[in-house]
């Protein structure tokens, strides 16, 4: 299978209302040609509705979807020519593996010899060469997943949609498939829209992540920016672990419990909260560097998790901070026990401020 021309997707003003719930609320999204874009959100956020609207299985109330230059909003699903991998694979149980993969070619009246070659190639691509005559019921979960993928790419669609394709696999296989899907995308180069609720999966696989909640696009950025510069509290909580500290703002200066903080750029006007990621805090055992903010508190609880230790530290004003530290021998956290006082350091570059939302 050769790399071929991918199509960009342009979504604007897309809205779908169920009863009085906005499944999609005025979504604007540009998916670049050949990009791996992940729609990330909790269940009920509207990410699947968006994917189904792209595939043509959900009819939006209004808005526009263009594949390249063509408006496809009212085009029936079977004419859209997009590949799709379903969450439960949706492999036809009454057909062999080869018949499943060859189905889109049969519908396109591809000559038999050519179709057989394409099917063999597609199965080879997903490392299932020689499995053509197997029954679907004879396959393991991971193999079904690969067949579904082969079926979705065999007719060289220019857009590939995936609806939580790895959610049914166990953890090891899932992580293995994440890397494999990534490589496959690099090899085939088709524009890919991937839906997941697993933030780690989104961070691992995507060129860009679109975070969706309540039918709205919350933030669209690279995985690193999404993680390190979350736009709001929802994103900071949904992706990675965070503690939020209420900070005081006085013009360009920000302070916590009366101590001025060294931070990165400030958002526009308004009340602020400091996002503290557990792994960005360090346990200090000497004088801090000049760009380090220091918080001191008492260890309330320690949880050993193998690769890391979680320490819950209560600050003077009663707020809890969570620290995650590696368990390498000699780390300062090793000496800590419950009730000890700890000094925690947060580099100014890691001190991210977000608008404070009054609950």
């Amino acid at each position: 299978m050769s790399k071929q021309q991918a199509l960009p997707i342009s979504i604007s003003g897309l809205t779908k209302v169920y009863g009085d719930i906005f499944a999609l609320n005025d979504v604007d999204l540009e998916v670049q040609s050949g990009e791996f874009l992940t729609l990330l959100g909790p269940s009920g956020s509207g990410k699947t509705t968006l994917l189904m609207a792209l595939a043509g299985f959900t009819r939006p109330d209004f808005g526009s979807i263009r594949f390249g230059e063509d408006e496809i909003i009212s085009m029936p699903p079977h004419k859209r020519g997009v590949g799709m991998v379903f969450q439960n694979y949706a492999l036809f149980p009454h057909m062999t593996v080869a018949a499943n993969v060859g189905y889109p070619l049969k519908l396109r009246k591809t000559p038999k010899a050519e179709a057989e070659k394409l099917v063999a190639d597609a199965l080879e691509t997903v490392q299932l060469g020689g499995y053509g005559e197997r029954r679907i019921s004879q396959l393991s979960g991971g193999q079904k997943q690969r067949v579904a993928l082969a079926r979705a790419i065999v007719f060289s669609p220019r857009i590939l949609l995936m609806d939580e394709p790895l959610s049914a696999l166990d953890k090891n296989l899932r992580e293995h498939m994440q890397i494999e899907l990534r490589h496959l995308h690099e090899k085939l180069g088709m524009t890919t829209v991937y839906v997941t609720h697993d933030q780690r999966e989104a961070l691992t696989m995507s060129d860009r992540i679109a975070v969706i909640n309540h039918g709205r696009l919350m933030q669209l950025d690279t995985p690193r920016t999404i993680y390190e510069r979350p736009a709001n509290r929802f994103i900071a909580e949904f992706i990675g672990e965070s503690t939020f500290l209420q900070v005081e703002r006085d013009g360009d200066r920000v302070s916590f419990s009366g101590t001025e903080l060294k931070t990165g750029a400030l958002p526009a006007a308004g009340k602020l909260a400091l996002v503290v990621r557990p792994e960005r805090l360090s346990v200090l055992d000497g004088p801090p560097t000049p760009d380090t903010n220091v918080f001191s508190g008492t260890v309330r609880d320690l949880v050993y998790q193998g690769d890391t230790v979680l320490a819950y530290v209560t600050l003077a004003d009663g707020t809890d901070l969570t620290v995650r530290a590696g368990t390498r021998t000699g780390e300062p956290i090793e000496k800590a026990s419950i009730g000890d006082r700890l000094e925690l350091g947060l580099k100014s570059a890691d001190a991210v401020l977000i608008p404070r939302e009054e609950a």
């Binding site: 595939a55 439960n88 149980p93 189905y103 889109p104």
Partner: protein
């Protein structure tokens, strides 16, 4: 590696316990086993025995010989299979679209429409059969309305023949086809149809390539039930056939009621039972084959 006696702690106690549970389960099943024995196995065995007795009480094959020699018996079996076959075919033609329609409705609408299928099912068979007689007879509702509307001039012979028998039997058998078929259609995941559509199949291609093959096990199951039930059917052909449609069950009745010939009646029953079992066996082989073809569905 041998397990020493010290590693076999409590072995006898545990073995006794599991034996006790097996006996308890058998005890629970015994009323059912006893009932089947008394009302099924013994009478069938008795009939089997009777069918090999001549009128003077000696062992003979005369009843079976008569069946082979007499053309009338052959005709009766042919009629039985013809009626059963036609009824099953008509049930499929009417029942498949009906089940498909029901399977596409919302659950609430489907329940409502299912009621219209089930309501006649819950009504007495005799009542429904006589109702058809009223509707179909020479001066019945259908003929008089059709003549009033000018659809046909002379009353049509709708009853007391094969037509009437088939109309009545299809009506009575339809739920037996629709229920299993509906169940198997509901079990077809909408995702298969979406996947087919996504891969480029229009609605009719998706129906014939995906939906229809996946509904076949339910269709076979329903058709088999209908066919086997038809083979032994009595009331409807007796009432609506007007003596022109003689099925095996009716011949059995007349053998007993008119000729008091239990031997001949038993032999007919045995032959019908054997044929029915043979069909069931062949069909279950076929169905199992289909399950294999159908994979893990």
């Amino acid at each position: 590696m041998s397990i020493g006696s010290e590693a076999r702690a409590n072995e006898t106690v545990l073995l006794k316990q599991s034996r006790r549970e097996e006996w308890a389960l058998l005890g629970l099943a015994s009323p059912a086993i006893l009932t089947v024995l008394i009302v099924m196995v013994l009478p069938v065995g008795w009939l089997f025995y009777l069918s090999f007795l001549a009128d003077d009480g000696s062992f003979s094959l005369e009843h079976y010989n008569r069946m082979l020699e007499s053309k009338a018996y052959g005709r009766i079996f042919m009629t039985t299979f013809e009626v059963s076959f036609l009824t099953t075919g008509l049930c499929i033609l009417i029942g498949y679209p009906l089940a498909y329609f029901l399977s596409q409705l919302s659950p609430r609408m489907a329940a409502l429409c299912m009621l219209t299928v089930l309501l006649p099912f819950w009504t007495s068979l005799l009542v429904r059969t006589y109702a058809w007689l009223v509707l179909l007879q020479r001066k019945g509702l259908i003929n008089s309305w059709a003549i009033d509307l000018g659809l046909w001039d002379e009353p049509l012979k709708l009853v007391h023949n094969l037509n009437g028998t088939l109309i009545g039997m299809v009506h009575i058998m339809l739920p037996f086809l629709v229920l299993p078929l509906y169940g198997s259609m509901k079990a077809i995941s909408a995702d298969y149809l979406k996947a087919s559509s996504n891969l480029g199949a229009g609605p009719s291609q998706t129906f014939w390539n995906i939906f229809f093959p996946l509904s076949l096990p339910g269709l076979f199951a329903g058709a088999l039930i209908v066919f086997v039930l038809c083979l032994g059917f009595f009331v409807t052909p007796a009432v609506l056939g007007g003596g022109k449609v003689i099925m095996v069950s009716m011949q059995i009745t007349s053998n007993i009621e008119l000729f008091f010939n239990w031997g001949a009646a038993s032999a007919l029953g045995v032959v019908l039972l054997v044929i029915t079992l043979a069909i069931l066996l062949a069909a279950s082989r076929l169905l199992k084959l289909d399950n294999v073809l159908g994979g893990g569905h």
